[in-house]
C-alpha cells in the first residue's frame, strides 16, 4: 500500500495518549503509523515540545502528519513543535481541532484509505463542526 498520513496523539497524560494509540491500532490496524506522547519529563502531567517533535518524527510520512491534542498546552506546545521542524516539513503537519480519542480513530480510518492530509484533518474536524 502507498504511504498513508501519520497520526500523532498528544495528551497531558501519558496513559491517555497510550490508550488512545492502542485504540487506533486495534480498531483501525497497523497500516497507519501512530505515535504518541504525554506527560512532562518528570513523569507528571503535562506536555513537552521535544517529546512532541520526537513523536512527529516517529509517525513521519511524506503524505503528512495529523496531530490530535487534548487541552490548552497540548495544542500550543504542538504548534511550537511544528515550528521547530525544518521549513519544508512544517506544511506537512497539522494540529486538528477535534476531540482526541474520537478524532484519532476517525483520522486514522480516513488515513488508512490513502486520503490526503487535508481530507484526514477534515474528517477529524467534522466532530467539532456541530
Amino acid at each position: 500500500m502507498n504511504d498513508t498520513v501519520g497520526i500523532v496523539i498528544v495528551s497531558h497524560s501519558k496513559d491517555i495518549a497510550k490508550g488512545t494509540a492502542d485504540m487506533v491500532r486495534e480498531m483501525v490496524g497497523s497500516e497507519v503509523k501512530v505515535a504518541f506522547c504525554g506527560g512532562n519529563p518528570d513523569g507528571g502531567l503535562g506536555t513537552n515540545v521535544s517529546f512532541i517533535v520526537d513523536a512527529i518524527n516517529n509517525a513521519w510520512s511524506p503524505r503528512g502528519v495529523a496531530i490530535l491534542v487534548d487541552l490548552g498546552g497540548a495544542e500550543t506546545n504542538s504548534e511550537m513543535a511544528v515550528e521547530m521542524l525544518e521549513p519544508d516539513r512544517r506544511n506537512l503537519v497539522v494540529v486538528c481541532n477535534a476531540p482526541i480519542v474520537e478524532g484519532a480513530v476517525m483520522a486514522a480510518t480516513e488515513a488508512a484509505g490513502g486520503s490526503s492530509l487535508d481530507e484526514v484533518r477534515a474528517v477529524a474536524e467534522e466532530l467539532s463542526a456541530s
Binding site: 480498531m27 490496524g29 480513530v105 476517525m106 480510518t109 488508512a112 484509505g113 490513502g114 486520503s115 474528517v123
Partner: protein, 102 residues
C-alpha cells in the same frame, strides 16, 4: 438474509441483517468504512427504510448510524466496481465483521 440484485443496470443494491451483538458500534463502523474506501464506486448505506441514505465512506456518519442488532442494513452503489463493493460489504456484515479482511 443475504441478497444482492442488480437494478436498472447502474445502481447495485444489497441488504443484510446486522447480527453484531452490539449493533453498529465503533469497531464495526471503522471496518465497514475502511472496506468501502477500497472501492471506487459511490456507496450509500441506510439502516432502515425510513432513514436517509448516508455515505458509506464517511466514518463519522457510519458511527452515528446507531443501528441496533437485527436491523436490516441496505447498501446501494454505482460505479465500475459497484457490484464487488456491495458483495464485499454484505459479506462483511453477514460475517459479523471478522478481524481479517474479507
Amino acid at each position: 438474509m443475504l441478497e444482492t440484485r442488480k437494478a436498472n443496470g447502474e445502481i447495485i443494491t444489497g441488504s443484510v441483517k446486522l447480527v453484531h451483538a452490539a449493533g453498529m458500534h465503533a469497531r464495526p463502523a471503522v471496518k465497514l468504512t475502511k472496506l468501502a474506501k477500497k472501492f471506487q464506486a459511490q456507496i450509500s448505506i441506510r439502516a432502515s427504510e425510513a432513514a436517509e441514505w448516508i455515505n458509506a465512506k464517511s466514518v463519522s456518519k457510519i458511527m452515528a448510524l446507531r443501528a441496533p442488532r437485527d436491523s436490516t442494513i441496505e447498501f446501494k452503489a454505482s460505479g465500475e466496481d459497484a457490484e464487488a463493493a456491495v458483495a464485499a460489504l454484505v459479506k462483511l456484515v453477514a460475517a459479523d465483521f471478522p478481524d481479517t479482511d474479507p
